[in-house]
């Protein structure tokens, strides 16, 4: 197995949703570090155009409901030329987990995701300020109920605990002062919008999207004491203080490490995180600098880091579909892809609570595993799909003799990733390949039956334990 290909495939599984061999070859021309730079500074991405989506899918134009909104985001993930932009937006979605169930406002959620795309690579300070102004977040954590005369601590607490510093780095008083600073940060027509949200009302004419509104008369302009500093702080001032904290640097770097590098943090990982924290302060809190430090670390490139994460359901679905090459054009049943993510335990735009999803091995239970396997096996064992055809073409054109099941299995594993598997898995695959009988090639072309055989093997590889890992 070619080491450069293997490393690039690893990078793209982490910084994206995996890559086809064609894509990998393109990235390899640029080289590893240049690819990292391009991923981190993507510019305008290419993806399926909005007008095409909206004309075809009424539900994705109106965005009244969750399935359409989820499908809309999935299209972006499936067709983007900048996979890290979406992968990072998905990270923020898990970290700043805002859910449809309470809001009943899919448009506002997608606006929040768009905000993540826009601010996600830049200064963490700007991102937290925008997050605090985000209408979906405001309603999700009740900041519309956070009044000058009666504070609601929900947003203030989670901003510190779940979004920036982590528990143990501030006091209960800091939470109260933080909440006071965010009084008056609300959304337009908050009363009507919150009644509609709490009744899931689409009447009379569908949803009415939300926008941020600052009510100066409902803001507590008094003196506050926060993390040892004193002043007439408003929300921005609070964020300014938060981002200078070492706890914040550690919290952010650790979460990014766990999402992009490894579910578990060991002592080598701690060193990488120290480097990320340094990059955080040196760059003026830039997320792209923190990520560059991670992706270019020796640890990230080491064998130890490879396959050390359980794929999340969304990355699993998107990776599989991108590999199969489907949904590149508007496709009638795209909304069912969203349902798939739900069945696997990660309903996009519907995290269960503000804590987001429990990741790593907690993604896996017998029900979700069956869903993952059945979905990937079905998607990838279909020899009529462009991506599957391409794998079959590469496998069959590189080997004159496909009658050796070991070579066939190794070749499929190579072109599907490369994917490294355990000996048991490889034996199981070889047994499967053997049981199907030898693959026949005529004039360098697989016949229909041969294509079906190879495709079934590809589907079988998508059913392995190793395919569940990134």
């Amino acid at each position: 197995m070619n080491k450069d290909v293997s490393l690039m495939a690893h990078l793209m599984r982490r910084a994206g949703f995996g890559a086809t061999r064609n894509e990998l070859e393109g990235y390899l021309e640029d080289g590893y570090e240049a690819t990292v730079d391009n991923l981190l500074d993507p510019g305008e991405s290419g993806h399926m155009p909005d007008d095409i989506i909206r004309r075809y899918h009424v539900d994705q134009s109106e965005l009244r409901q969750l399935d359409g909104a989820g499908a809309y985001w999935l299209y972006r993930m499936l067709t983007t030329s900048n996979p890290l932009e979406e992968k990072l937006a998905l990270f923020w979605h898990g970290l700043f987990a805002t859910g449809y169930a309470k809001l009943n406002q899919a448009r506002a959620l997608l606006n929040q995701i768009e905000m993540f795309r826009h601010y996600g690579f830049g200064s963490f300070r700007d991102l937290l300020v925008e997050l605090s102004r985000d209408p979906a977040m405001i309603l999700w954590l009740d900041n519309n109920e956070n009044h000058k005369e009666a504070i609601n601590e929900n947003y203030g607490r989670e901003l510190l605990e779940l979004f920036s510093m982590g528990i143990g780095n501030y006091s209960e008083d800091d939470i109260k002062e933080c909440a006071k600073a965010f009084t008056g940060w609300t959304l337009g027509n908050a009363e009507y919008m919150s009644v509609r949200a709490s009744k899931d009302s689409i009447w009379p004419y569908g949803r009415i999207a939300w926008h941020y509104e600052y009510r100066a008369d409902d803001h507590d302009g008094g003196e506050k004491k926060f993390l040892g500093k004193v002043g007439n702080f408003n929300g921005e001032d609070i964020v300014d203080i938060i981002v200078t904290q070492e706890a914040t640097a550690r919290f952010l770097s650790t979460r990014l490490f766990q999402y992009f590098a490894s579910d578990e943090v060991d002592s080598d990982g701690e060193l990488v995180i120290s480097g990320m924290m340094e990059a955080y302060f040196q760059s003026g809190y830039k997320v792209s600098a923190v990520l560059r430090s991670l992706f270019n670390s020796d640890y990230f490139k080491s064998d130890k880091c490879m396959y050390s994460r359980v794929k999340g359901p969304v990355e699993s679905v998107v990776g599989t579909v991108r590999l199969a090459g489907t949904y590149q054009e508007p496709t009638l049943d795209v909304h069912s892809l969203w349902a798939q993510t739900m069945f696997m335990g990660q309903g996009l735009l519907a995290p269960p609570t503000v804590e987001g999803w429990h990741e790593g091995v907690e993604w896996i239970d017998s029900g979700s595993l069956v869903e993952r396997i059945n979905f990937a096996a079905k998607e990838l064992s279909d020899p009529t799909k462009d991506g599957v055809k391409d794998i079959i073409r590469r496998v069959t054109s590189n080997q004159k003799d496909l009658s050796d099941p070991e070579k066939l299995v190794d070749s499929c594993l190579d072109y599907m990733g490369p994917i490294q598997v355990q000996p048991d898995t490889r034996e199981g695959l070889i047994e499967f390949a053997e049981s199907q009988g030898a693959v026949q090639i005529q004039n360098g072309q697989p016949d229909e039956n041969a294509s079906i055989q190879v495709a079934r093997l590809i589907g079988m590889i998508a059913s392995t334990r190793e395919y569940q890992l990134a």
Partner: protein
Amino acid sequence: MGNKEKSIVVVQLSGGNDYLNTVVPYGDDEYYDFRRTVHIEQEKVLPIDKVYGFSPHMAPIKRLYDQGKVAVINGIGYDNPNRSHFRSMDIWHTAQPDEIGTEGWLGRVIRDLDPSAENVLTGVNFGRGLPRALGVRGVPVASVGNLETYGLFPDIKDESAKKLALDAFAHMYGGVQGKDPVLNFLGQTGMDALKGADILRTAPQKYSSSIEYAANPIAQGMKSIAQVLLADFGTRVFYTQHGSFDTHSGEIATHAKLWDEVSGAVGDFYDDMKEHGKEDEVIVMIFSEFGRRIKDNGSGTDHGSGGVAFLVGGEVKGGMYGQYPSIKEADQLEGDLHFNNDFRSTYSTIVDKWFGLDPVPIVNGQFEQFDLVNA
């Protein structure tokens, strides 16, 4: 300790069932004042007494009611009612009205019935995706879309090809345990899934009954439940749902069809259990996330609060429980029927009196119970 033979079937009416057109206050003139368009005519109601009666589309449930096998729980709800489908359903599922809960109440029941998770089939959901009511970390619950094809590789139609795939799967997942704990865990989970599916798929073959269930989804769901229950896999909690009861428009026709289907399915299920001598070992609970507005909107009804739940079973003490809320303007809660009993009272009754478990940690508190099952 739980009573090993007892089980529950939960039927969720998704979308918000219209209480007023389910148990109809046909003897109250005000009902017809508020429901100018969306009402059930007096002469069509299946009377319970002089004031209340079942919808004409609930004849099988009325029949069981007359046999004393149906408890009608009136005015069920919770404080500060939420009228959003998702949120209110969440509240019913997690038994936590005040904050966003993480554990499902039935998941906790399953955990307490089978604390060491010995049986992967203690809880079985019929439908794709797991309802939050069943979700508790570490508690395995099977979610069955279609009993006949349940399990791995349902899309491989060719039987011999499927067998090859399943054999290879067993080889890949069931091999010797290596040193990577994550791969080991995946292997174990995959083998559990394979095992559970193999067991479940045998249920239809073992089943025989004179009952002919209708072709609609809820009837077929109840048939699958009967098959699994009668196959004695030790399943104690069954879950299924039907809908959509979200009848904002054209309610009369839609609501009639839905209740024809639900009451037909529940009636057939009861008869099926009776045919197999099991009617005393299972309770069916029917609930919805909320009731609907008292006043109609000219075509349907909008999201409301106070609702109705039903318990059906051989050991149920039939009758009317709770109070049917007054529909007078002054007694309304923001245009809705004012609930008068917390849904967790009903949950507590089931958990305690039916399963013999401590209800407090399951429903998040102490709630007054009904005397509606034979202990």
